[in-house]
């Protein structure tokens, strides 16, 4: 108890040093400061929360799924939920503060999933680690945005990623698949996006990206073509299978080349056509022009089938464009009736017109305007004889009714038309072929063969072979006969005959030979008509001839020959008679007489007569010359005659009058032969009648 005083001193000391608290406090204060600092720092460093909507979750997990930018994690999904109405998945992503300002309204987000395609496997790392969200945005800080629409697939053109953005137009047969590579000399220089059907549905349009480093490979003269699939060709070098790569074989691909120099620099968004193959692409460079085509509308009065889209448009035989669209047009005000007219829109390439100045659609239009005023008209013409296809032709119509290219505001100019030149060649050719087909060629040939057989039989006949010998003896006899005195009287009668001919020529001169000739031609024409009628039975006639020939072969000709033989023999006998032997003497006398007569003639002015005769002949020749001037008329008539004759071919199947006539003719021939036989017998009985004409 007595020890309390020191206690007091201690207490006093404690109080005095109370302000100097333990240094230990530094530790918690430091820790607190550090903790608060770290807390503040982490809070400060915490980026904003963005919301991205996706079509489906695809494995996004809260707290695990990362947001990556250029394959670097820049954020993490904090929460996954749904939008109102549960129609979309909403991922809330905490992004790094440093990156957050760049995530502006142009940002794109998509989920990276493992994907196996023909081009390869992508997103393989996500198989085990799970999906992640890839974001893409440009390098400019734009307007801040916290809610985004996630893309359903990897976008082809990412914001901020440089490259040449193109669009391709493809035909309906294109086999482009999404993400197909664009190859150049086998190296991938770009990629094709998702193909979409263009508005209107006439073609597919697909966006494509040429990587920045290959931008210079493409200019406005570049042509793209499809390399998908493979081609098989068999040539002298053997069979060849050609395909560019396995990827393009399966998934399709596009390659390109710049065939000509001097293309202009291509801007983003330029549309290129995709050609089916290299050849077409190459040709298009030289045929297509770089300027916009000129559209011209043409309304044809005739509704002729055969004009199709793509049909050529020609100016002076040179293709300057093609038919773009076809349609009907009803314009009561313009045409005065409500008939449907053919309205064709032509696509004219200004470059093909060979314009002297700048090649533009406007220049081409003004050129055409000028030509139309000079009579240029559009018309339909046959493009192909066999298919009956039509084309549109622009022709200069001389003395055309004045017309202008009708130009209305914001509408396609309308070009005046002229009468179409569409020949129905197809029908004509078809008719000709049908007729040829209908000809009884086989029957004709059979008849000919039969006829030739008969002729051969006739020629090989022994009697016929004997005929020349007989004729030779007959001629010998005849020469003996001519030497006889009786023949010598002939010149006198000859002189008389000449005088008569002279008179006859003069008469003819008076009677206008030409007119008669014309009349004769008329009769010939009518005769041809008759022939027309008669020719219609030619096949029957041929049969008839055949039968006649057969008949002749079997019967009548043999008989005739026998008769002829008999005749010649009797003639021989006749010549062998005394009278005949006396005949040369008579002939000699006759010639002497003739000689005397000629002397007489010379003395009695026969030469003057001859001269007169020649003069008359000259006048006749003049007349003939005059009549020759009328020849064109004759020629016309002949033409008409031939036309008639040609018409007659059409109907030769009708009737068989000619065959009947032929039959009759044959009978007449037969009768004539009989008469000849009779004559021969008569001569046999009375040889003098040959000379005396009794």
């Amino acid at each position: 108890m007595s020890d309390t005083p020191p206690e007091v001193t201690i207490e006093a000391a404690r109080e005095s040093r109370f302000s100097g608290t333990s240094f230990v406090w530094i530790i918690p204060i430091l820790a607190l400061v550090i903790a608060l600092g770290v807390a503040w720092q982490s809070y400060n460093a915490r980026g904003p929360l963005i919301e991205v909507e996706f079509e489906k979750g695809a494995g996004i997990a809260a707290g695990a799924t990362e947001l990556k930018y250029r394959d670097i994690t820049v954020g993490r999904v904090e929460e996954v939920g749904f939008t109102e109405g549960l129609d979309r998945v909403l991922a809330r992503i905490r992004v790094d503060k440093a990156v957050a300002p760049y995530i502006d309204d142009g940002s794109v987000f998509w989920i990276v999933e493992p994907e196996v395609t023909a081009q390869g496997i992508t997103g393989l790392s996500t198989v085990l680690s799970g999906v992640y969200i890839e974001g893409s945005w440009d390098t400019q800080i734009g307007q801040a945005e916290t809610r985004f629409q996630g893309a359903s697939q990897t976008p082809l053109i990412r914001p901020g990623k440089s490259g040449l953005q193109l669009a391709f137009r493809t035909s309906a047969t294109g086999t482009l698949t999404d993400n197909a590579p664009i190859l150049f000399r086998g190296i991938e220089v770009g990629r094709v996006g998702k193909a979409q059907i263009a508005r209107g549905g006439t073609f597919a349009i697909v966006e494509a990206l040429i990587y920045e480093e290959h931008r210079s490979l493409v200019n406005s003269s570049t042509r793209f073509w499809d390399t998908s699939g493979f081609s098989v060709s068999i040539g002298p070098g053997g069979a060849e299978i050609d395909f560019s790569s396995l990827a393009t074989l399966v998934g399709g691909g596009i390659t390109f080349d710049t065939f000509v120099s001097g293309g202009a620099r291509v801007q983003d968004g330029q549309v290129f056509e995709i050609f089916p193959d290299r050849g077409t692409a190459r040709n298009s460079v030289f045929s297509a022009s770089e300027v916009d085509p000129l559209r011209i509308s043409v309304i044809f009065d005739e509704n002729v089938s055969g004009l199709a889209t793509g049909a050529p448009v020609e100016l002076s035989g040179l293709k300057i464009g093609e038919v773009e669209t076809l349609g009907g047009v009803i314009d009561n005000d313009q045409f005065g009736d409500s008939r449907v007219r053919l309205n064709a829109t032509l696509l004219v390439q200004p470059a093909r017109l060979g314009l002297p100045d700048q090649v533009t659609a406007e220049n081409a239009l003004s050129f055409l305007q000028e030509r139309v005023e000079n009579g240029l008209r559009a018309r339909l013409a046959s493009a192909s004889l066999l298919t009956g296809g039509l084309k549109v032709e622009m022709v200069e119509v001389p003395d055309a009714e004045p017309a202008r290219l009708i130009m209305t505001e914001n509408e396609i100019p309308v070009m005046p038309t002229t009468k179409s030149e569409v020949s129905d060649t197809a029908a004509t050719v078809e008719g000709v072929f049908t007729r040829i087909n209908n000809l009884p060629i086989e029957e004709l040939l059979n008849s000919a063969i039969d006829f030739l057989g008969a002729a051969e039989a006739l020629i090989s006949d022994e009697d016929l072979r004997q005929t020349p010998e007989d004729v030779r003896t007959l001629l010998a006899d005849l020469s003996a006969l001519v030497n006889s005195d009786g023949v010598q009287n002939v010149p006198v009668s000859l002189n008389q005959t000449l005088t008569r001919i002279e008179g006859l020529v003069a008469e003819l001169e008076q009677q206008q030979i030409t007119a008669k000739l014309v009349a004769a031609l008329d009769s010939a024409a009518s005769a041809a008509d008759t022939v027309t009628a008669s020719v219609e039975g030619v096949p029957a006639l041929v049969e008839q001839i055949q039968s006649v020939a057969a008949k002749a072969d079997s019967l009548e000709l043999n008989a005739l020959l026998e008769e002829l033989t008999l005749l010649t023999r009797s003639a021989e006998r006749v010549l062998g008679t005394e009278d005949a032997v006396a005949l040369p003497g008579a002939l000699k006398g006759a010639l002497d007489e003739l000689n005397a007569t000629l002397t007489e003639l010379r003395e009695g002015g026969a030469v003057a007569n001859v001269n007169q005769t020649l003069a008359s002949a000259r006048t006749a020749a003049d007349n003939i010359a005059v009549s020759a001037q009328e020849l064109p008329d004759v020629v016309e008539r002949l033409t008409a005659l031939f036309a008639q004759a040609s018409r007659t071919i059409e109907g030769y199947n009708k009737g068989d009058e000619i065959s009947r006539t032929a039959q009759e003719t044959m009978r007449d021939i037969q009768q004539a032969a009989d008469a000849l036989a009779k004559l021969a017998r008569t001569i046999e009985r009375n040889p003098n009648s040959l000379l005396l004409g009794r």
């Binding site: 108890m1 020890d3 020191p6 206690e7 201690i10 404690r14 040093r17 608290t21 333990s22 230990v24 406090w25 530790i27 918690p28 820790a31 607190l32 903790a35 085990l128 680690s129």
Partner: protein, 219 residues
């Protein structure tokens, strides 16, 4: 004097200070009050460490500060193939309980949550009780202090488990266990609570008695 103290009331002990002595806390030799340095071991002698409570509170606060992130951050990072799983102390225990391992979950909860929290409570209680009256007897308080001091080192068992697992399960790409940031904070927390407990001058427990006595004497 000693006999007096010993034969006194059961509840009232004579402190060394009352006896005019000061004990060396290192070699336990008692010296007359006023001796500055222990003649045996050279330790500076003070009858009462005036800054004891300050140190206790400072370190206690420090330990508690570390205990917060120790529970918020993951204790273990378990990587199997590509999946990294991070579990906090309580999260891990709950997960184990969900898998049916209630025993292990209970041990983890006891070692990592109940004991540290109990230590915080105990130290805080002791530190508060030396300043004010308490219904708990001095002996019980002293026992509590001894338990706290004893149990403190066992709190490191969590850290041992983490260390052992981390060193054992390192199968390259297949699986790996790494300590999370919580293990660091947990270790710090344990260290600071141990230091806090050590900083407590148990002799001050008795000062309350002296004050009470004084108060009753004055009355």
């Amino acid at each position: 004097m000693v006999g007096m103290g010993l034969s006194g009331k059961r509840q009232a002990f004579i402190t060394a200070r009352e006896a005019g002595l000061v004990a060396c806390i290192r070699c336990t030799k008692a010296w007359p009050l006023g001796t500055q340095v222990c003649g045996r071991c050279g330790q500076a002698l003070v009858s009462r460490d005036r800054l004891s409570l300050q140190r206790v509170w400072a370190l206690w606060f420090m330990g508690f500060l570390c205990y917060i992130p120790a529970n918020l951050y993951p204790m273990l990072k378990t990587r199997t193939l590509f999946v990294v799983e991070e579990s906090t102390i309580i999260g891990g225990a709950v997960e184990l309980a969900q898998h049916g391992a209630f025993g292990i979950a209970a041990i983890i909860l006891f070692a990592s949550v109940v004991i540290p929290l109990g230590k915080f409570w105990a130290i805080a209680y002791l530190a508060v009780s030396v300043r004010s009256e308490s219904t708990v007897s001095y002996h019980q308080r002293l026992r509590l202090y001894e338990v706290v001091e004893y149990i403190g080192r066992w709190s490191m068992i969590d850290i041992f488990v983490v260390a052992i697992l981390s060193s054992l399960v390192q199968l390259q790409a297949l699986a790996a266990i790494n300590p999370g940031p919580a293990s660091f904070f947990f270790a710090l927390s344990v260290i600071f609570t141990m230091l806090s407990a050590q900083a407590f001058d148990a002799r001050t427990i008795w000062d309350i008695q002296a004050k009470q006595k004084e108060a009753s004497d004055h009355v």
